[in-house]
Structures are given as structure tokens and as C-alpha cells.
Amino acid sequence: MRTSLNNIAQTEAYLLKRANSANALLFEAKTLLDQDLQIHVSQQQQVYSLVRQYGRKQVKAEIEAVYQQLFNQPEHLSFKQKIARLFK
């Protein structure tokens, strides 16, 4: 694997707490001395956050699609009526 990808792997182990304590300490020391690395770490953290937001947005849409199915399709009419009776 090329160096830049190895750096990403090391950053990942640190950020996701998969590195052992010696490696985590070494990585922390490196970030203190290297401003570019600090920026990379912060950007990689944002990548994980974006991936979570991406996944969450899609699952929310999938749940809404299931709702539309259960409340609009004729084969689920009895379920819809059962719920509707609760709010009368």
C-alpha cells in the first residue's frame, strides 16, 4: 500500500481507538510536531462524520418509505385503521 494510504490507516487506528497504547502515544507525539498531520487527522474525522450523516440520511429515507407503504397501500389497510382508531 502506498505511503499516503498507510498514513490514512494509521490515522484511522488512532481515531477509532484501534491502536494499542504505545502506537497511540507515538501517533499523538507525531501530530504535535506536524501541523499538516494535525490537519489530515481533523479532515479524516470529518470524513467519518460525513459517512455517518450519509448513512443516517438514507436509513431515515428508507424508514419513511416503509411508512408510506404501510399507510398508503391497500394490503395494509387494517393496520392503518387500527392506528387511526387510536387517535379518534
Partner: protein, 181 residues
Amino acid sequence: MDAVNLEEQVAERQQLFITLYQKVFPAVARYVSKCGGSFDEAKDVFQDALLSYYEKSRSADADIKSSEGAYIYGTARYLWIKRYKEGQQTTQLDDSVAADMAMETTLPLADDKLLNFLETAGKRCMELLRSFYYDQLPMTKVAQLFGFSGVRSATVQKYKCIEKVRESVKQKALTYEDFLE
């Protein structure tokens, strides 16, 4: 990307959500109705509770699958009380029992724009990263889903994808700096 395999994943989730909707939503709706809440309120808190359950059930140490109904009902009830009974409309799940989930339902505009961009321009990478980090599928499964010969090549691709998305984050930061200047 193996579209058929990914569609199977979507179909599996759809079946799970249908089952849980039918199993747990009536109890949540009954509770909200009994307390004087509306159907829309019940729907709102139930859907967030379902999302919370999905995310919780993905983690390796999750032990909630056996009590899925209790988890979803309890979370929905908590959210309803917080959002509607106590009048704190803005309460998101991160104030709830599922605090460690850090729900980010409202994004800063810049992140939202970047996400929209990645949804189209970087879809394959985002799907791959999502499968591993969000759905927490094992790498063997990810390799199979995306048509890689093995775990190693899928892992290399995963890091390349992080690099690619990170590049977009960097570009966004540059644009933002330009804007500030």
C-alpha cells in the same frame, strides 16, 4: 458496484423496518394518544427511535436485538416526553438514552452542501464507506458486495475512498477560507 447485492441489503432492511413498524408502532401510538399527543408526533418519535435501534443493533457489542420492542418503545416514549410534553421541540436523540449516538439531524449548511455533492459525485465510495463504518458489515461482506477479489483489495479501496472524500473536505475548507477573506 454490485447493484443486485446492494438491492438485497436494502430489501433486508425494508423487511426489518416493516416488521418493527407493525410490531412496535401500535404501542407507541397508543401511548402518545393516551397522553393527548397526535399521530404526527407518534410517527416522528417512532421513526427516530427506529433509526436509533438500527444504529445500536449494528455495533458489535449490541445486546438489544432480543429486546428490540422494549428499546424502540422506551426510546420513542422518552423522545415524546422530551419533545412534546416538556415543550422542548428541538430535542434530538443525542439528549436521550441513546446519547452516545450523537444524532446530527440538522447539518451546518456547508456540510449539507458537501453531502449533497458526495451523494452524486462520490456515490460508489460513499456506499462502500457506509457499508463498513455505518452499517458495520464485516470486510468480507463488503468485499463480496462490491465485487472485490478479497478483503485486502477491498481494504485498500476503502482507504482510497477516505482519501477521495478527504480531498473534498479539503476543497470545501479552501472555498470557505476564500469566502471569509
